[in-house]
Symmetry: C2
Subunit: 227 residues, 2 copies
DNA sequence: ACCAATAAATGAATGCCATTCATTTATCTC
DNA sequence: GAGATAAATGAATGGCATTCATTTATTGGT
């Protein structure tokens, strides 16, 4: 039996054995962590986003991450803020108010429907540590104000729209047969009939139809509040 | 040194050593598990709801639970279905449509705002295994139908309302200072002004104001669809 | 030019958690 | 009465985030 040589031969391919201690230049920073997290999520989903996997993809020990983020929730907040910058607010101040809201809400939903595990985190975490998210709110608020919205109602309207967007983002991820009553169908005839009736309409995805229906109602209702 | 006696003396107080093997009468069933889970959630929150804690509160080994539920998600589904029965659908078919929707949506939000960790589970799990949830949908669907709603739009309208309710349920749990921009306030003047302006209105909880605003817009918008 | 402080890495715990499995045994069915 | 089944036990198992002592290169102060 060969001697148990503690050689670095068992290292993951492509990685380099590094001594402990401060490296010549910092390997990690929040930007790199964010990018790696997004890449990991894109490839393996949120189940694949573990601190260990994140560290491995950065060629680093898991504990090293904690010099740059306080917790895994902190990583999720970084990801969230990156995504907030991808939401389309460009129409505010350019296009009419209703067009801008429509573009914003659809893109907001589309971005976060791929990232629903972030929603519980966003909902609870203060916005102070998320500059890009804050910038999104600023653009939307300015758009509402310039459209003649009474100032005391702006935040409430945004919060309501956002609630709808987050709920709808979940709906996008639902399986198609979520409303299949199965063996209980006989006990819920009205519901089953309505589900079947909707299935006959073969226009767009049901989730998109519902989102449009709700969004247009909100836009119409809120539009009437403008001075 | 005393002999290592495997006595039952170290048992938790109040518990009784039970031999392995089938007991005279089954100790566990889904109803009991559901009740214990709700009790645990009420006392310790969702962080306290672990399979081990649930088993302990039922005086049983954790593995015993798996004779009655397939997984922890299964427990969450049981809890969800119990809660669905607490949502107020009593006004459908009795009160005018808009009153019924209002009562339903407010109670739906109130029930689930205490149980937001269920929302990701509900959104994805087919409804076939949740009879009480299905019963709720049936009542709401019948109410919409009887109010003259076009059948092909009923499910979409319910889905949209539900999305809004779930999103709003998260909002209820948000900390009060969630919109405090902190040191970045200077960079988001419109947003900060709108937040401050809303804070001056000391009527109701901001989360309730936003919910009412959105809900009334949806009710008005959907009400116009009735034939 | 030295020296102390700091920043950023390592790797070895720690403790929690859901879930699985072999085993036991009372009850039910034929 | 015998064999199958249901429902419990307790001992793994493997994954997870997080902590901690330790190492060491860089930085800033005197």
């Amino acid at each position: 039996m060969p001697a148990p040589t503690p050689t670095p031969s068992a290292l993951p391919a492509g990685s380099v054995r590094r001594r402990a201690g401060r490296p010549t230049a910092a390997i990690l920073d929040q930007d790199g962590i964010t990018t790696a997290a997004l890449e990991l999520i894109s490839n393996k989903g949120y189940n694949g986003l573990t601190m260990a996997a994140l560290a491995r993809s950065l060629g680093v020990a898991p504990s090293a991450l904690y010099n740059h983020v306080a917790s895994k929730d902190d990583v999720l907040l970084l990801v969230e803020d990156h995504l907030a910058a991808m939401v389309d607010v460009s129409a505010f101040g350019v296009e009419p108010w209703d067009v801008a809201v429509r573009r914003w809400a659809w893109s907001y939903r589309d971005v976060f429907s791929e990232h629903t595990p972030l929603i519980p985190v966003i909902a609870v975490l203060p916005v102070a540590n998320a500059p890009k998210t804050l910038a999104m709110y600023e653009a939307v608020t300015a758009g509402f104000r310039d459209a003649g919205f009474p100032e005391e109602k702006i935040i409430s309207a945004i919060v309501a729209l956002e609630a709808f967007v987050f709920g709808a983002a979940y709906d996008v991820t639902a399986p198609e047969d979520i409303f299949d009553a199965g063996s209980l169908a006989g006990q819920v005839p009205n519901f089953t009939a309505a589900v079947d009736r909707l299935a006959l309409e073969r226009h767009a995805r049901p989730t998109d139809v519902a989102f449009e229906l709700g969004l247009e109602a909100l836009i119409t209702g809120f539009g009437a509040l403008r001075g």
